[in-house]
Symmetry: C2
């Protein structure tokens, strides 16, 4: 049975090389979806959660949402000259990331977030994200950011959905940022996106309902925040969890330790300096991976070796 399921899955996961990573995925899906399996799980409980940056698309040289924020500052400065007076805006204009991340709370980055992610209506924000995504290009790969999603992970999303799973993004990124394109890019509708959020403010402006973005009651959907966000937004424990860094460790543990249902955890390890990036302990951007990698063997999590496990990396590309 497992042999034939793997053969079937070859069609569903063509960008995955044969090997233990692919086998573990197929064996788990099989185990929870075959009616006669003692570990069968009802479709309604087949909740799968995916980190985004570094798991579904890259996070280097900087997370794509940070690229959006910096581009947005640059776009607005000519129209809003008072902005240019801000030293943190100057740091953006000069590409001085060091200055932006100075201090315990990265005050510069917070300032840039406040300028680019608050004070406008949710519709205005969605338009600016959408416009940016259409025009911006990744500095190394010279493609639209939305063409840089990982083809093997896209196949995995499709494969899980075809097997009755409900797939959610659970990311430290902004929910409002991701929801603009998550359905088009991943087939994940807005309501299945859990991310960091500020509490919007509801107002009638000129008789029209508006939600104004704020950074109030900021919920940071990272580390221990991920299980908290999963509970708050999804309301159930997932049975499958996919991440790439220590920021995902808590949700991997929440998914796989003491879960009354069978469960599966997977870490994407960036090992491919040629086709993408190679990092773990010392990422140049986000994505530090140390304790979660250590925990993987103890917990039985699958570790994907990007270089050897993936036939190709990006969706928007031929075979690389």
């Amino acid at each position: 049975i497992i042999g034939s399921a793997i053969a079937k899955a070859e069609d569903s996961l063509p960008s995955w090389n044969s090997g233990p990573a692919k086998q573990s995925i197929v064996a788990f899906v099989d185990r929870v979806t075959q009616k006669q399996s003692p570990d069968y799980v009802e479709p309604t409980d087949r909740i799968a959660v995916f980190d985004n940056d570094g798991t579904l698309w890259p996070e280097a040289p900087i997370p794509f949402q940070a690229a959006f924020a910096f581009d947005e500052v640059k776009r607005r400065v000519p129209k809003e000259p008072t902005l240019a007076a801000d030293p943190m805006v100057q740091a953006v204009l000069q590409g001085d990331i060091g200055k932006l991340i100075e201090g315990k709370h990265h005050d510069g980055l917070l300032k840039v977030m406040a300028i680019t992610h608050a004070g406008m209506s949710t519709d205005e924000f969605a338009t600016s994200v959408s416009d940016w995504l259409e025009s911006a290009e990744h500095p190394r790969f010279k493609k639209a950011y939305s063409d840089l999603t990982y083809q093997p992970m896209q196949e995995l999303l499709d494969y899980l959905r075809a097997n009755g799973f409900k797939c959610f993004i659970v990311s430290g990124g902004g929910a409002d940022f991701m929801r603009v394109w998550s359905e088009r890019v991943y087939g994940i509708p807005a309501e299945n996106v859990v991310g960091s959020t500020g509490q919007a403010k509801y107002e009638m402006r000129d008789g029209k309902p508006q939600l104004i973005k704020t950074l109030d009651h900021l919920f940071v959907d990272d580390k221990e925040g991920k299980p908290v966000g999963i509970h708050q937004f999804i309301g159930r424990r997932p049975i499958a969890c996919f991440g790439n860094s220590d920021g995902d460790q808590a949700m991997l543990e929440y998914t796989t330790i003491d879960n009354p249902l069978p469960s599966f955890g997977l870490i994407v390890h960036h090992t491919d300096v040629e086709r993408e990036y190679a990092y773990d302990k010392k990422p140049s951007s986000s994505g530090k991976l140390t304790t979660a990698l250590e925990a993987a063997s103890k917990r039985g999590w699958t570790v994907v070796d990007m270089k050897s496990d993936w036939v190709r990396v990006f969706r928007g590309s031929g075979s690389e």
Copy 2:
């Protein structure tokens, strides 16, 4: 076309008497789902939101979640004698609702909520809700609370889902309370329930992941909180909204004013003192309906007259 659609809908909505309320529902669903309609809406955008208390099930003589909280206090007092020393617990034991709602912030009720809705794990809480729902009985109707959902609204949920709508609960009630039974009772899975929430705390206890309920960062999903919650949890503007009180006015407005898509609003007016309850300006429990009822004609919202529009009221009953 409308004639035949209504005839077809007769099968889907048998507990609705013919009349303008039913007609308006069918006409709207028709308008947004027929491919050739100029107002056709893609399935992914067919978001429908439902208030719960007073819209999908009763809210008298007290909201069912309050009944749970009071029963829970009574259940725990014999095992936790220190509880009995609390004057607000005494008020519960004596049925002194007046004392519980004294003061601007209803300190007594808040105390009862803190005792019954925080400090335990989310799993423990779910078990206590589930146990309660199995054993508790409505004081007037002498049935399990979950048998008292409104049959016409259940048919409406089914009818909308059959027409490609995604149905969500958006309620001032606690999300953790509703999610225990929403799928079984309404076919609405946990992840489609938006409600009031405190931020749970993630911990490892004896090596096992636990989410401990708290009242921290309490989000109250009522009035202006409803559009805020819709944006935060669903991420898109609904095209159909169903409520029964002024607490739903903001989400009715958010759904129907200046929406780029066609939209529909509906208010359930409790007019049936025989079969259920009759109230608007002066409810004995929650559910005050004044400004939203005034706004209905201006906004084109359908007002359901429970007495004349509904053939029967409750799901768990014969034809009454």
